[in-house]
């Protein structure tokens, strides 16, 4: 069994959307192909398809879990359902994007150093002295940017922030976003950038003239029931750290 979904709310929303799509598609098919059937028979058929889709989903999920544990890209369940996992590396390109919107107050990590196969931090650093950061057009929040680097054998962090579109989300942040749009990496060997939208969610994209190291994998699993019903799911298996480690003191309640 794979780990629990991190953002259950989002997952539930996604699940509902997919279910609606499937139901609509099923209804169209049923309307075209079985227009002569009685209403009671139609209702029974929809329930059966939902069950089949659930089986396909579970099989796809299990296949990802099996992939993470065993490294095998194919998976066959005991009931005959099967799934195939496709893994693609995130990174190794000159541009990286967040997985959709980054919610306000949540941080998005962009690794600028590779990881070893055991998950430890490697020594292959992003090769350019700067990167370009793009946010959604009209973004009116602020960005908290924490840039980690290695200098003379010491781990260091440079912190900066910008209020976009002349907003004043963070007192003291500059409204000149140039320092956030083009992030200077020249003070050492780049390790990591943590970018946190404040006040407003936005999609984040960084780009540069060098290849970014692997951020992890994007896993696509296609589950198929023995009756041929298929469901495809996607997830990211990325290098992550607890968000509180970005800062010095974090508390869910009061700090005094």
């Amino acid at each position: 069994m794979i780990n629990k979904i991190k953002n259950k709310k989002l997952i539930k929303q996604n699940q509902g959307q997919v279910a609606i799509i499937i139901l609509l598609a099923s209804a169209i098919i049923l309307t075209i192909g079985l227009s002569a059937s009685k209403t009671t028979v139609n209702n029974t058929k929809v329930s059966t398809d939902e069950e089949l889709l659930r089986e396909a989903f579970n099989t796809a999920e299990s296949a990802i879990n099996n992939y993470l544990n065993e490294g095998s890209i194919t998976y066959t369940a005991s009931d005959g359902n099967n799934a195939t996992v496709d893994s693609s590396t995130i990174g190794n390109s000159q541009s990286l994007a967040s997985e959709g919107l980054v919610l306000a107050n949540a941080n998005q990590l962009f690794w600028l150093v590779n990881h070893n196969t055991d998950g430890s931090v490697g020594t292959e650093y992003y090769g350019s002295n700067s990167i370009t950061l793009a946010v959604d057009s009209g973004f009116s929040g602020a960005l908290k940017i924490d840039y980690f680097y290695l200098s003379a054998g010491e781990y260091k962090v440079k912190r900066l922030g910008c209020n976009y579109n002349n907003s004043s989300v963070v007192t003291g942040y500059t409204t000149d976003t140039s320092s956030c749009s083009t992030i200077d990496l020249s003070m050492g060997s780049p390790l990591l950038i943590s970018i946190t939208p404040l006040g407003v969610a936005t999609k984040l994209t960084i780009s540069g003239s060098s290849l970014f190291p692997s951020q992890g994998e994007e896993l696509t699993s296609l589950g198929v029931t023995d009756s041929g019903v298929k469901t495809q799911i996607k997830t990211r298996y990325i290098y992550q750290i607890p968000s509180f480690l970005i800062d010095a003191i974090t508390a869910k309640n009061i700090i005094q």
């Binding site: 991190k6 990591l192 996607k234 997830t235 010095a248 974090t250 009061i254 005094q256």
Partner: protein, 737 residues
């Protein structure tokens, strides 16, 4: 019938009337025939008039001794010391070669000689009332013409057998009327043949008053007779170094010639001269005179001693030997002479407290010479007082003004007594500590204690636990409007004019910054709270005064709980309702599940733990420890490895015994309390599911004014040394074709 003889004296006449056979006296036997001729009977020479009896020879007429002597006016030259007695016990009277001298014998130096010369001397018995002369007092002429008549009359009254004639004036007839003696008081038969004319006598030579001539005079005293015989015929005039005058001779008797006049002279005398008065301390070191030609006993030059020595310098044109006395007084008090009188005369005294006064008085130097002339100096003034200076003042709070700047900045707001904790104040100067007896915080006064005038660095010291840092002082005299602003907190008592009659009192105020409450700080990392972040950056902080140095502070409520504004306490802060950046889904169970359960990483300890070092946790290969309970950290946690993470289900409490804790701390609550002399430094990251509360303080609380008691140094190294097995996680997923 007139006798062919002359009687030479009344004694001779008495002889005749006393002895019926021979003038009523054996000595006068045949006295009418026995005459001394040009000599006088022994004992009859009028030595009281300056005559000298000499060359006596005795015959024995009738078997009785009869002695006659030369009697001549004496040359007024002394022959014995007693003749030179000037009537003063202060001098040694000496007759040398016929000249008198009166030398100061030192016995009466302190007591000035009498202002007036003695009354005209009359030598017994000639001027005593009970004697021959009925002169009422010695001021009368001893040579009264009534001299003899009264004596005769007296005899007459005794016997009633004779009578004297009243026609007895100089040059007149002294008669004896035998017959008339039968009835005393009858008419005098001055023409009787038994009368005698007084022997004609040449008038006496005028005589100078020896009192005048034996002394030196700046002026001739008018109250003293110029002549002891005769009459001064001229007013003394200065002729060179002498006063000169003339004494006329007296008239002769029985038509004899008047005595000759003599010239008199007395040495003219110059008054003494005051040269200097030098004041010296108890070590005989000269004390410099102060402006206004004055001194006062509290001058430091007096060595805090009330013993003072003096040297009077004097001179006299007639020679130092002419100075007979030197005295020194102050405010009516005589200062004891310590040396003989001379060109320099020393004095000394220890001024008793009874002499203390707010007023200034002159020294009176009096120099007297042999002529009684004086020189007086009163130009040098002196004050003796108790040197006590009272002091009082107020302590002000300059916290809102930054550093106080004398005399005004920071001296307007009185310190809050409760916050100040002002319990004692002492001033120490010259090795003497003076405590203020009355502390009515924030005010004080010296009460019955006093500073000592002349000490210019009375260093102040408060009770050690007063909540006042780096106080500044201002001080002034009570009556002044201008403040003094020393660089150090001392009081200079010499600002007071010691010669003033104003109260010797100083006002000294202090101003400082009150000691602040303890505070904490994050460095190189942000501070994220989902409810509130309360900083305590003190107003006194001057450098690196941020809740988070180089980091963001974010919470629905961000505040700085001092008089220092949030804007001045934090460069970047996100204070708004949505500012909840902490991940609410992570807790002990989450980490325990993710790391320990799923990855098999970490060591789990059950129950409350107290550790004093990292080794107390065990030896987990990944340096991840789970404690299902509370954790008390009572010692330094020094991590020499690349990673350390302690995840506690309960609370982490760091006691005052620890001053360094390395690693990532995760707990329900994280506390740092107690008080220490050292700063508590976290090197890592702290994450609390509930609160982070730093109440740790400095024992020496003044450090709070500039330095946080707790610092959390963010350590990025820890991120990159997470165990690789926990570095990769799944994120959200999407579901679709």
């Amino acid at each position: 019938m007139w006798s062919s003889e002359y009687i030479s004296s009344t004694s001779e006449a008495r002889c005749y009337v006393t002895d019926p056979n021979c003038n009523n006296t054996a000595l006068c036997y045949q006295c009418a025939e026995l005459s001394c001729g040009s000599k006088t009977h022994k004992g009859e020479c009028p030595t009281w008039l300056g005559f000298v009896e000499s060359n006596c020879s005795t015959t024995y007429p009738g078997g009785n001794p009869y002695t006659c002597c030369d009697c001549a006016e004496a040359d007024f030259r002394c022959t014995s010391n007693s003749q030179c007695d000037d009537g003063s016990s202060c001098t040694t009277d000496t007759c040398s070669s016929g000249t008198c001298s009166n030398t100061d014998n030192g016995t009466c130096d302190i007591t000035p000689p009498p202002d007036e010369p003695p009354d005209y001397e009359c030598i017994w018995p000639y001027c005593l009332d009970s004697g021959y002369d009925l002169a009422a007092n010695c001021s009368e002429d001893c040579e009264s013409a009534n001299h003899w008549l009264n004596e005769v009359y007296y005899i007459c009254a005794e016997s009633g057998s004779y009578y004297n004639c009243s026609n007895d004036v100089d040059g007149g007839i002294y008669s004896y009327d035998w017959e008339a003696c039968y009835y005393c008081g009858g008419p005098c038969k001055c023409a009787d043949e038994y009368g005698w004319c007084m022997e004609p006598s040449v008038g006496s030579t005028g005589r100078c008053n020896s009192y005048l001539t034996s002394r030196k005079w700046s002026t001739i005293p008018e109250s003293i007779a110029l002549c002891s015989r005769g009459t001064g015929v001229s007013t003394p005039v200065l002729n060179g170094n002498y006063w000169v005058w003339t004494c006329d001779g007296t008239d002769g008797t029985c038509g004899a010639a008047k005595g000759a006049s003599v010239g008199c002279s007395a040495v003219a005398n110059s008054p003494p001269i005051f040269n200097s008065l030098i004041i010296k301390n108890d070590k005989n070191i000269t004390v410099p005179v102060e402006t206004g030609n004055k001194n006062q006993i509290c001058q430091t030059a007096f060595n805090r001693s009330r013993s003072v020595n003096f040297t009077v310098g004097a001179s006299d044109p007639d020679g130092t030997a002419d100075i007979t006395n030197v005295t020194l007084t102050w405010n009516g008090n005589t200062i004891t002479r310590k040396s003989s009188i001379g060109a320099t005369t020393t004095f000394g005294t220890t001024f008793p407290s009874a002499y203390n006064s707010n007023s200034i008085y002159p020294f009176v130097v009096t120099i007297t010479d042999s002529a009684g002339n004086t020189a007086v100096d009163t130009s040098r003034y002196f004050k003796t007082w108790d040197c006590k200076v009272s002091i009082s003042g107020t302590i002000f709070d300059a916290t809102d003004d930054g550093d106080p700047v004398c005399p005004s900045v920071g001296f307007t707001k009185q310190a809050d007594p409760l916050a100040l904790n002002f319990t004692s104040l002492a001033f120490t100067g010259g090795g003497i500590g003076v405590s203020m007896t009355t502390i009515n915080s924030p005010n004080y006064n010296s009460g019955s204690n006093y500073l000592t005038w002349g000490i210019n660095t009375n260093i102040s010291s408060f009770n050690t636990d007063i909540s006042l840092t780096d106080p500044k002082i201002r001080f002034k005299s009570l009556s002044s409007v201008s403040w003094n602003c020393p660089t150090n907190t001392y009081v200079d008592t010499t600002i007071l004019d010691p010669y003033s009659t104003d109260p010797m009192s100083i006002t000294a105020d202090f101003s400082g910054i009150l000691i602040q409450d303890s505070w904490w700080q994050a460095s190189e990392g942000g501070v994220i709270g989902n409810s509130k972040v309360t900083g305590q950056i003190p107003i006194t902080c001057t450098t690196n005064c941020q809740i988070s140095l180089n980091g963001l502070v974010a919470a629905p409520t961000v505040e700085n709980d001092t008089t220092k504004s949030l804007e001045n306490s934090q460069s970047w802060f996100y204070s708004a309702t949505p500012a909840k950046l902490a991940n609410v889904n992570t807790n002990y169970s989450y980490f325990y599940s993710q790391y320990f359960v799923k990855k098999g990483i970490g060591t789990t300890l059950i129950g409350n733990k107290t550790i004093t070092s990292i080794s107390d946790l065990g030896s987990d290969t990944n340096y991840i420890y789970f404690i299902d309970g509370d954790l008390n950290i009572n010692g330094n946690i020094v991590n020499t490895n690349n990673f350390l993470m302690i995840i506690v289900s309960g609370d982490i409490t760091v006691s005052q015994d620890a001053d360094r804790v390395d690693g990532i701390l995760v707990a329900n609550n994280i506390y740092a309390n107690g008080a220490s002399n050292t700063q508590l430094v976290f090197n890592g990251s702290l994450f609390a599911f509930n609160n982070v509360d730093f109440s740790r303080d400095y024992i020496d609380r003044v450090i709070n004014n500039s330095t946080p008691a707790v610092v959390v140094n963010y350590n990025p190294k820890l991120i990159f040394n997470l165990p690789g097995s926990v570095a990769k996680v799944l994120t959200d997923w999407q579901w679709g074709n």
